[in-house]
C-alpha cells in the first residue's frame, strides 16, 4: 500500500477522470437511496398511526431528503448536471438506488385506497437506517474530503432516526400476537431485497481502490452484525442471509414501482421547472 489517497477539493477530483467517475457512481447510489426512501416516507403523510408519528416520519423524511440534496449538489459541483434535474428528470434506468427503497408502501396509491403496511415501513426504514449508519461511518474515512465531512454531519442527525425506529421495533416485537406476526412478515419481505444494499455497482473496484468507501463485504458484515444484535435484543429470530432482488438497482435495473415514484414526484417540476423544491 502506498500513501492513502486524499482528495481535498472538487477541482482536484475533476483532474483525475477515473477518480471522478468512481466518485460520481458512488454519489448517485447514496443520493438515489436517500431520495427514494425519503419519498416513500413522505407518502405516509396523514396516514401514519397517530399524529405524533406523522410529525416524526415527516421530519425524518425531510432530513433524508436533505441528505439526498447534499449528494446531488456534490454531483452538480462535479459537473454532472443540475441537482434538481438529476433528482427529477432522469429516467428510471439512470437511477442506481437499491430496489428495497423504491418498493411501494403497500397496496393502493396515496390518493386512492392507500392500504399501506406500517410494519413494512418500520422494518424497511430501520434495516436501511442500520445500513446507512455503517455506510456513513465508512464514508467518514473517504478519500474525498467533502464527502467525509458531510457524512460526519449526517451521522449526528441519523442517530435520532435509528432511536425512533428502535422504539417501534421493540414495542411491536413485544406487543400482541397480531403485531408480532405482522412484524415478522415485514422482516421476511424486507429481507428478500435487503442483500442488495451493500452492493457498490459495476464500478465497485475503482470505488474501493480509490479509497472512497470500504469494500462491499466489509460493509455487509458490519451491517449484519449490527442488525443481528438488534434483532436478538428485541427477541426476533434472525432471518439468515439476506436475499437480493431479481433486478439489480445498482446496475440501473428497476421495478415499475420506481417509474411510478418518479412520475409522481417529478410531476410539478416537469410542469414548472422554475418551481422550488
Amino acid at each position: 500500500m502506498g500513501d492513502r489517497l486524499h482528495v481535498e477539493t472538487v477541482e482536484a477530483a475533476k483532474q483525475n477522470p477515473a477518480f471522478a467517475k468512481a466518485l460520481t457512481d458512488l454519489l448517485f447510489q447514496l443520493a438515489d437511496d436517500d431520495f427514494l426512501l425519503a419519498y416513500r416516507g413522505s407518502e405516509w403523510l396523514g396516514l401514519a398511526p397517530h399524529i405524533e408519528e406523522d410529525v416524526a416520519f415527516s421530519s425524518m423524511s425531510q432530513d433524508m431528503m436533505g441528505h439526498a440534496v447534499m449528494f446531488y449538489e456534490m454531483l452538480e459541483q462535479l459537473g454532472v448536471g443540475k441537482a434538481d434535474d438529476l433528482a427529477q428528470l432522469r429516467e428510471a434506468k439512470a437511477f442506481s438506488n437499491a430496489i428495497l427503497v423504491e418498493r411501494k408502501n403497500g397496496e393502493g396509491e396515496y390518493n386512492d385506497h392507500p392500504h399501506y403496511d406500517w410494519a413494512y415501513a418500520i422494518v424497511r426504514s430501520y434495516v436501511y437506517g442500520l445500513y446507512k449508519q455503517v455506510r456513513l461511518e465508512a464514508l467518514t474515512q473517504s478519500s474525498y474530503a467533502p464527502l467525509a465531512l458531510v457524512s460526519r454531519k449526517m451521522m449526528t442527525e441519523h442517530r435520532y432516526h435509528l432511536m425512533h425506529w428502535q422504539v417501534w421495533l421493540k414495542q411491536l416485537a413485544n406487543s400482541t400476537p397480531d403485531a408480532r406476526q405482522r412484524l415478522v412478515a415485514a422482516i421476511a419481505e424486507v429481507w428478500k431485497d435487503a442483500g442488495e444494499l451493500p452492493h457498490l455497482g459495476p464500478n465497485q473496484l475503482d470505488i474501493v481502490q480509490f479509497g472512497l468507501i470500504a469494500e462491499e463485504e466489509q460493509l455487509k458484515q458490519k451491517w449484519l452484525t449490527l442488525t443481528k444484535d438488534i434483532f436478538e435484543k428485541a427477541g426476533l429470530d434472525w432471518p439468515g442471509e439476506p436475499g437480493v432482488p431479481q433486478e439489480s438497482g445498482r446496475h440501473g435495473e428497476h421495478t415499475a414501482d420506481l417509474v411510478q415514484a418518479l412520475a409522481t414526484l417529478s410531476e410539478v417540476y416537469r410542469i414548472d421547472p422554475a418551481a422550488g423544491w
Binding site: 425531510q62 449526528t156 432511536m163
Partner: protein
C-alpha cells in the same frame, strides 16, 4: 495589503459581527445565529463580505431564510455592497457551540437547552424549562423542527420542547 486597508477590513468585519447579532434564528426568535454558534467565519474582501455558516441540520428548510436574513442585514453596513453566504461542514455544528448565556434565553422561550458535553452513550435527561423539574416525559423525539423534541413536564404539567443534543 497596506496597514490602513487591513484595519479598515478588520473594522468592517467587527461591524458585520455586530450586525449578525441582530439576525435571529428564524424558528427561535430569542436567539441570534451568532449565539447559536452557526456563524463560523466573516471575511471582508474589498466591498464583499463572505460569511461561512454551519447548518444545524443538513436538510433544515430554514437555511434559505437564514441566508436571506444575513444578506439583508449585512448590506446595511457602510462599505459592503455584496454578501456571499456559504454553508460549510467543517467544523460540524454541535450543540456545544450554543453560547452559554443563550441557554437561559432558550429556556425563557420554553425550549430546554441541550445538555453540555454530551457524549455517545450518555442518557439524554431533560429538565423542564419552566420549573426545572427533572420529572419530564418524552412525547415525541421529533417536534415541529428536526432539531427539537416534544416533552411533557409531570411536575408543572406543561408541554415543552427541547433542542436535541447534536454531538
Amino acid at each position: 495589503m497596506a496597514q490602513e486597508e487591513l484595519q479598515l477590513h478588520e473594522g468592517l468585519e467587527a461591524t458585520c459581527w455586530e450586525l449578525l447579532q441582530q439576525v435571529t434564528d428564524p424558528e427561535i426568535p430569542v436567539i441570534s445565529m451568532v449565539e447559536m454558534g452557526m456563524i463560523h467565519k466573516v471575511r471582508v474582501e474589498a466591498d464583499v463580505v463572505h460569511v461561512e455558516v454551519l447548518p444545524t441540520f443538513v436538510g433544515c428548510p430554514a437555511l434559505e431564510i437564514m441566508k436571506r436574513n444575513i444578506t439583508e442585514k449585512l448590506v446595511e453596513a457602510e462599505g459592503i455592497n455584496q454578501v456571499q453566504v456559504t454553508f460549510v461542514y467543517d467544523p460540524a455544528w454541535t450543540s456545544d457551540r450554543i453560547a452559554l448565556d443563550a441557554r437561559d434565553k432558550l429556556k425563557s422561550f420554553g425550549i430546554a437547552p441541550p445538555p453540555l458535553d454530551f457524549k455517545p452513550g450518555d442518557t439524554w435527561e431533560v429538565a423542564c424549562p419552566y420549573c426545572d423539574s427533572p420529572y419530564t416525559r418524552m412525547e415525541n423525539l421529533f417536534g415541529p423542527a428536526a432539531c427539537r423534541s416534544i416533552l411533557y413536564c409531570r411536575h408543572c404539567k406543561n408541554p415543552f420542547e427541547a433542542l436535541k443534543p447534536i454531538y
